[in-house]
């Protein structure tokens, strides 16, 4: 039997039903009779005024129950609240303008999706096309096409931060380096797309919605505000199984509101299952970013200051939780390095692309790409080994908990240990030796390193970094990372757990069972975990959900605390029965036992039976039944202070990557020969699940580095509408991956666990870019590294070298 306590590689409980085709996904749900189906008419223009919409022909198609247009949505809902002061009006349906290709323009409700799509073809929309802008920097110019007239500019938000003394550091440093980097817009592509079932109850003016949404549940109040109902009149229920998200399903909330309104207008419950084209064009994505980075460094390789101007493209509408993309990494902005002087300018700019939102890595990949590239460029400039430059700058083990210049508190870590382990398992020095020979043979062989700090467990306070301290002072303070869980034992003695972390494949049910099993001394397979979240019946809070890798640090802690409460109660009841004080009692194999005298025991079944059947027998102050809820937060998750210090995450892991590549000089194709990654995520709760997460994050990062891009042409036309053109790595693109772990437990979480799963999404693009730069001796500052792009760089270099040769400069 495989061992099943906390930290053991227990096989997942979810797999039994998933592998037998018994999962329950959104499209499997049919919770109400008379459900009708929705098709959405979407804008083919990136930017246009809607002069007229005529839906009469569509409404007459047999089987159509209703057609919804922007004017109805504007009268039945309010624009979505968003955490910036710019007065952007974002509705779930385009009202007077469309601002990105794929933006919903009308909704048809019909007996089935076939009929609904037939009716779409009968809707006539008169568009007045307007000039579009998709280039980030162009959108900032005064004479750029303006997306939102009432905002007056395409810059939705802008902040500046200054920590330490950057100017002094630049003056005193031996050298400086500066460069501009671009990061592409790409997405997560779960197998299951968005799905919503919505029902409007006229009698109570309330909405019930089933959706494969997974938080953050801050967005519940955003949806309720848009629908103009109090929170308890918008009931959101998540299905038992969610076919993957990687952050992208956080962006489903505008469609939740849209379907809710559709149900209201049509008078029937409605179901919408998004198809792949819709998902690629108009669901959500990460931001594309322009970064201007400058570093001040000394000849021994130590970096003393960083300046970063980061400009994020949030798409046609800035929408919650943006501009959090720019602040999620605020506290770990210097990564794993001891840089004390930091200057950051952050811009959120709107252009005619699909609006953005959460994605695995969320801002991390955009942030670390320029930094890790710069570290390698510094090494090149100094003629030093990049590993040496990294080593010189890493935060030291004795400095934890480490306070970063921007107010972050790195809870624990041993970066040098992890890094040296990486160089050892990856045989770094042998690779460098091999490289010398390979290059002499004319091979383009390169090695790339990347070290990053992986933040997990977001502090809700960080979202308000988009506001100035004065603006923050005027609004409700935000802090913490509250999560809740309930552990209960029913009259028959069986244990159930209710969690609010809305898993989308991360195996929360399994780890929850492991935790409860260990705390209560039972077999995890006997613990029933309910992961469906129902906003009217689950214990939840604004931070609930799965995002920012928060299950391990926060979700698991809530479960642990709730289980502890149950444990205490059981011991209390048992102590009366066994006439032994609680300190001398323990839980094991389904019984409370006396320590050192295991024959003296009473079963959990009996204790539960007593608490339900014979509450009069319970001692003073003990409630009947066994039902304990715990709400958990981490004490370091404070609101930002007036000096702009904030601890944006509660736990911080470390990831170090080493990748070896060979570039084909004829085709520009990048072949990854080997990939080594070392992780420190504190105490690992289930190593099997952990490694699965890491593989996924790494391959996703590989996608961003080499294949994936949501491409638009310069006129704003969307080009990557199917998997023919939006290229995800498949099984055949995955290189040999070697994962190693060290564990420096977090002192801030009861189990010492930190989050993981996003790490390689943040580090892999930088590591691969470094390797390709090393292989080709070209400057890599743009992704993805398609063969065409790499070949162009090699061609340019060849032509420059020929010029040199011809001039006789050699």
């Amino acid at each position: 039997m495989v061992d099943h306590g906390i930290g053991k590689p227990m096989y997942r409980l979810e797999d039994v039903r998933l592998l037998q085709g018994q999962g329950q996904f959104m499209d499997d749900l049919n919770p109400l009779p008379n459900i009708h189906h929705v098709a959405i008419l979407r804008s083919p223009y990136p930017h246009a005024r809607i002069k007229a919409i005529r839906t009469d022909k569509a409404a007459l198609v047999p089987g159509v129950k209703g057609v919804i247009t922007g004017s109805m949505v504007a009268s039945l809902s309010r624009p979505f609240p968003v955490g910036v002061t710019a007065p952007v009006k974002y509705y779930s349906l385009a009202v007077d303008k469309v601002r990105f290709v794929g933006e919903p323009v009308a909704v048809v409700v019909a007996k089935n999706r076939y009929i609904a799509e037939d009716a779409l073809e009968k809707i006539e929309v008169e568009y007045e096309p307007l000039p579009a802008v998709v280039d980030i920097e162009r959108a900032m110019e005064e004479d750029a096409p303006l997306l939102h007239e009432e905002v007056g500019s395409n810059i939705a938000n802008q902040r500046t931060f200054h920590y330490g003394d950057v100017e002094k550091a630049f003056q005193e440093a031996d050298y400086t380096i500066s460069h501009k980097f671009l990061f592409p817009k790409y997405s997560a592509t779960p197998m299951e797309t968005y799905g919503v079932i919505a029902n409007y109850e006229k009698s109570t003016n309330s909405y019930t919605v089933w959706a494969n949404f997974h938080g953050p549940f801050t967005l519940h109040s955003v949806m309720a505000a848009a629908l103009q109902v109090p929170g308890n009149k918008l009931r959101i229920i998540t299905p038992k199984d969610n076919g993957g998200s990687y952050g992208i399903k956080a962006g489903i909330y505008p469609y939740v509101v849209l379907m809710a309104i559709a149900s209201r207008v049509a008078g029937v419950p409605v179901k919408w299952i998004e198809d792949r084209q819709e998902h690629l064009a108009a669901s959500s994505s990460g931001t594309d970013r322009v970064t201007y980075i400058e570093a001040a460094f000394n000849k021994d390789g130590t970096v003393t200051a960083l300046k970063m101007k980061m400009i994020d493209n949030v798409g046609g509408y800035i929408r919650a939780p943006e501009p959090a993309c720019l602040y999620r990494n605020h506290s770990n902005a210097v990564g794993p390095y001891r840089i004390r002087n930091l200057y950051m300018e952050a811009y959120a700019v709107m252009t005619n692309k699909c609006p953005t939102g959460l994605i695995r890595g969320y801002g991390g990949q955009e942030h670390y790409f320029p930094i890790e590239r710069t570290m390698q460029m510094i090494a090149e400039k100094l003629g030093m080994d990049p590993a040496e430059v990294i080593r010189k700058n890493l935060i030291r083990a004795d400095e934890f908990p480490y306070k970063t210049p921007s107010g972050g508190i790195y809870d624990s870590g041993d970066y040098h240990k992890a890094f040296e382990l990486l160089l050892q398992v990856g045989k770094y020095h042998e690779l460098r030796e091999y490289q010398k020979k390979a290059k002499a043979d004319g091979k383009l062989f390169g090695i790339g390193l990347a070290c990053i700090v992986e933040p997990s467990g977001s502090n809700m306070g960080y979202i308000t970094m988009a506001l100035t301290p004065e603006e923050r002072a005027k609004s409700l303070p935000k802090s913490g990372c509250a999560e809740a869980a309930t552990v209960m034992i029913d009259p028959s003695g069986s244990i159930s757990v209710r969690i609010s972390t809305t898993p989308s494949g991360q195996g929360h049910e399994t780890v929850a069972a492991q935790i409860v099993g260990e705390v209560l001394g039972v077999n995890p397979r006997d613990v029933q975990v309910v992961a469906e979240l129902d906003t009217l019946t689950s214990p939840w809070s604004v931070a609930s959900g799965s995002y920012s890798s928060r299950f391990a640090p926060i979700g698991s802690s809530a479960i642990y605390q709730a289980a502890q409460k149950v444990r205490q109660k059981l011991l209390k009841i048992a102590s009366g029965i066994l006439s032994t004080s609680e300190e001398d009692l323990d839980l094991s194999q389904g019984k409370v036992v006396v320590k050192g005298n295991p024959e003296k025991s009473v079963s959990i079944k009996r204790l539960a039976g007593l608490s339900h059947w014979h509450p009069q027998g319970l001692s003073e102050g003990v409630e009947p039944g066994i039902f304990e809820t715990a709400y958990y937060t981490v004490h370091t998750a404070n609101p930002p202070d007036k000096n702009e210090f904030v601890n944006s995450s509660v736990t911080y892991g470390f990831v170090a990557d080493l990748v070896a590549v060979e570039v084909d000089p004829d085709t520009g194709e990048v072949k990854i020969l080997d990939y080594y990654t070392v992780h420190d995520a504190g105490k690992l709760l289930n190593p099997l699940i952990v490694d699965g997460q890491i593989y996924g994050g790494l391959v996703h990062g590989l996608g961003g580095a080499l294949y994936e891009e949501l491409s638009y042409d310069k006129n704003g036309q969307f080009l990557a509408g199917t998997f023919m053109d939006y290229l995800c790595p498949t099984a055949t693109e995955i290189p040999p991956i070697h994962i190693h772990h060290i564990e420096t437990p977090s002192p801030f979480t009861p189990l010492g666990a930190k989050g993981l799963g996003e790490g390689n999404c943040m580090s892999t693009p930088a590591a691969i870019a470094n390797a390709v730069a090393d292989a080709t001796d070209c400057i890599i500052d743009n992704l993805p590294l398609s063969p065409n792009r790499v070949w162009n760089l090699l061609q340019k270099k060849r032509q420059e070298q020929e010029k040199v040769y011809i001039r006789g400069d050699h």
């Binding site: 083919p44 084209q277 023919m724 053109d725």
Partner: protein, 152 residues
């Protein structure tokens, strides 16, 4: 998508010009033109079926003849909207005499395709656009030669 080309047409510049301005000839040549209805001065409404092989879509189009400088130059604007998306194409046509019997027509075009067909047809869009446009001019060539023959 941009491009250009040229074809030889039978007839003098004036003859060719009047044929080009003839809506019945235009409707035979514009791709998949099912109907052409005059709705204003030099402005037509048309039902187009644009595509290649089995992959065709229906578009409601407005076709305008503008920048008319008889008999040497005009611009053709085609704006079509349909289920598969929209097509906005602009063609500039110039005529120069070759000799008494032949006229050279040179054209430049730019086309923007949007919507579903742009999002999924990337691999072939540029090539198909080029094909359809050169097809249009080949048909013009044929129609003009035919009508010249019928006249004589």
């Amino acid at each position: 998508m941009n491009g250009n080309g040229s074809i030889e047409l039978k007839g003098t510049v004036e003859e060719v010009w009047s044929k080009l301005m003839d809506p019945s000839i235009l409707s035979k040549c514009i791709m998949g033109c099912k109907s052409l209805e005059l709705i204003g001065e030099d402005k037509y409404k048309a039902d187009l079926q644009i595509g290649i092989a089995a992959v065709k879509g229906k578009y409601d189009a407005i076709i305008e003849v503008t920048d008319i400088k008889p008999p040497y130059h005009y611009k053709l604007l085609v704006n079509g909207e349909g289920g598969p998306g929209f097509v906005n194409a602009e063609g500039v046509i110039d005529l120069t005499p070759i000799n008494d019997e032949c006229t050279q027509l040179t054209y430049t075009y730019s086309a923007e395709v949007g919507g579903k067909v742009a999002a999924i047809g990337q691999r072939m869009l540029g090539g198909v656009a080029k094909l359809l446009i050169s097809d249009f001019f080949k048909k013009i060539q044929k129609e003009i030669a035919k009508s010249k023959q019928e006249a004589s």
